[in-house]
């Protein structure tokens, strides 16, 4: 479908859902036919608006290469947003600008971070990690000794349990995907399997938990199930091929793929094997949820299946009717993403998006959906399924189960609740302006 026949006639587009959602396979080598079918492809023949000429940058010797390259000066707005730019005595968040990025890897300087007591300035030659408690022999490791182990390299998203918290507001906040969903990022991490280190220390089979503690000025700690430690946890020392960024735990952090960001303890300095969870501050208060009716979910851990559209989204605008690619990220703490559906009519009809492989477990998967905007109002949504069959809940389902604030929440920096994984909707008006809507 979509390909011109021998007489140059263009058959109708293969729409798979309402409001212009096109079969994801329609674009495979058929772009010109598609543009023509949409009626806004521009002329194939005919004169350009003005003759092409060489620009100044092509006519002079370029600048000196830098030891550590920075992005083009035209990319100066592609930065994290900071909740505490003056470093007041409280926590600090830096949010990833998803609406300005693509692909699946979050560049290290743009990886989100939350630090509750500032970023410590750790000398890697002096930093130590100890494993002790219910073990046969307490052991002390350094960055140097860990670097001599065979490292496991894998993709993983890390997501703050409070990511997307603005979605608990009674009214949709008019803010970017960065402000709403900027507390999740995705990187390639390299580290030593924690199971290896626990085996070397000789962990007691009666030990069910590890109290993991950082070397920051909060000595931030969380209780980690030993079960998770043996499943897939790493002591990560590289992030996208270089040592960890300071705000992401330099020189070593725990990586517990798919679990609450806060459990991926940064500046990791201690793992104490114990029989019972410690009920630390962060697992007692912030990172547990109250449900409608007042019961609490404790030790929730899992970041559940989720997706959101990054392009187009709030902060962008559509210049003219015609062809666009709807694109976003999907991920699940349970495993791989199996399917993403996209709607352009607020969920009345859905078409299956293309997934860009390889699809890694507990990692970002980029999805794309060809779309022809006819210039009329549209509401864009995405909905993800993971390989275990978990599905991203519809907003009505989610609010019924988890509740929402009774009033609009004053700021996207607040955390009315945690673990929002329902659908995000971007409403497009006839001028191509994009708003955040609930639908």
């Amino acid at each position: 479908m979509g390909k011109s026949d021998r007489r140059g006639r263009t058959p109708p587009l293969d729409f798979v859902a309402g409001n212009g959602v096109i079969n994801r396979r329609a674009l495979l080598g058929q772009g010109i036919a598609l543009a023509g079918a949409a009626g806004v492809g521009g002329t194939v023949t005919g004169a350009a608006a003005e003759p092409l000429k060489d620009e100044a940058w092509s006519l002079e010797f370029g600048s000196v290469m830098q030891p550590r390259e920075m992005p083009s000066r035209y990319e100066k707005d592609v930065v994290r947003s900071l909740s505490n730019p003056k470093g007041e005595l409280r926590n600090s968040h830096a949010r990833t600008p998803h609406h300005l990025l693509n692909g699946t890897i979050t560049p290290n300087p743009l990886h989100f971070g939350i630090n509750h007591a500032g970023v410590p300035d750790i000398d890697p030659a002096k930093h130590k990690l100890v494993i002790h408690g219910m073990v046969r022999q307490p052991l002390e490791f350094t960055l140097e000794t860990l670097s001599r182990y065979p490292l496991v390299t894998r993709m993983a998203f890390v997501e703050c349990a409070g990511n997307s918290a603005p979605m608990f507001s009674a009214e949709p906040m008019q803010v970017t995907a960065q402000a709403i969903h900027g507390l999740v990022s995705n990187a390639e991490w390299s580290g030593v399997p924690l199971s290896v280190l626990l085996d070397e220390a000789g962990i007691d089979p009666k030990a069910k938990w590890l109290v993991a503690e950082g070397a920051d000025a909060h000595f931030l700690d969380r209780s980690i199930p030993v079960k998770k430690a043996y499943d897939d946890a790493l002591v990560a020392i590289y992030q996208n091929g270089e040592h960890l960024m300071p705000a992401n735990g330099y020189p070593m952090r725990l990586l517990v793929p798919g679990y609450q960001g806060n459990m991926n303890v940064k500046f990791l300095r201690r793992l104490k094997a114990v029989e019972q969870p410690a009920y630390t501050y962060f697992e007692t208060k912030n990172y547990s949820q109250v449900l409608p009716g007042g019961k609490t979910w404790r030790f929730h851990f899992l970041m559940e299946v989720k997706s959101f559209i990054t392009h187009p989204s709030f902060g962008h605008s559509l210049k003219e009717p015609g062809f666009y690619t709807i694109s976003g990220v999907a991920y699940s703490g349970t495993g791989r993403i199996a399917r993403v559906m996209v709607s352009a009519d607020g969920g009345k009809s859905w078409g299956e998006a293309a997934l860009q492989g390889p699809v890694h477990p507990q990692a970002f998967t980029r999805f794309t959906m060809p779309w022809r905007w006819d210039g009329q109002p549209a509401v864009l949504q995405s909905r993800a399924w993971d390989e275990a069959g978990n599905v991203q809940p519809l907003r009505a389902e989610f609010v019924a189960a988890r509740g929402q604030a009774s009033k609009p929440v004053a700021s996207p920096l607040l955390f009315p609740n945690q673990h929002y994984n329902s659908i995000t909707s971007w409403g497009i008006d006839s001028k191509g302006e994009i708003k955040h809507v609930y639908a």
Partner: protein, 181 residues
């Protein structure tokens, strides 16, 4: 939100980390043995049953004096709260009805009083962590628990009494994923 099936991925993924090491005898073993007594200065994790609580004690009256001197600049007089929303009140709290409109507090939410001791000792004051003595931490914990009427005005908090404080919301919870523990 709780919509799950058995995770095949997790079962398949299990042991991923150990694959390079079929037998633990073949691992590099580069950890330096360290004696448990040499870890004492670091070993500050308190368990809810009171395990690892240090010697020492404190009363609400002692805590009130320390609080006024070292804590009230952020937390407000008598722990009523400082600059919102960063330094909320440490006293009181409405019943938790939906957890969104009602802030979580020590009195309406915390499961164990040991958490108050542990967090105060490891993280407070914000600009001088680990500067409080264990007696001071017991006294501050006693003061906050007393303000919340979780203990009496003259109750002494120490390694024996602190874990016995009954927190009202302790049993009001659900484990969403018990199979992951």
């Amino acid at each position: 939100m709780c919509m799950r099936k058995t995770s095949l991925a997790l079962l398949l993924g299990a042991g991923l980390g150990g694959m390079a090491f079929a037998e633990s005898a073949q691992t590099p073993k580069l950890g330096k043995p360290v004696a448990e007594q040499d870890l004492k200065a670091w070993d500050i994790a308190i368990l809810p049953d009171g395990s690892n609580l240090p010697p020492g004690s404190g009363t609400p009256a002692q805590g009130a004096k320390i609080f006024a001197e070292k804590c009230s600049a952020c937390h407000g007089d008598a722990a009523k709260g400082g600059v919102a929303p960063f330094y909320p009140s440490l006293v009181g709290g409405q019943p938790l009805t939906n957890g969104i409109d009602t802030p979580k507090t020590i009195a309406n939410y915390y499961a164990y009083a040991t958490t108050v001791f542990d967090y105060t000792r490891r993280a407070m004051p914000y600009n001088q962590p680990r500067s409080l003595t264990d007696d001071e931490v017991y006294a501050l914990t006693a003061y906050i628990l007393s303000l919340n009427k979780l203990i009496g005005e003259n109750d002494v908090m120490d390694a024996k009494t602190l874990p016995q404080v009954k927190m009202p919301n302790r049993d009001n919870y659900i484990l969403p994923y018990p199979d992951r523990i």
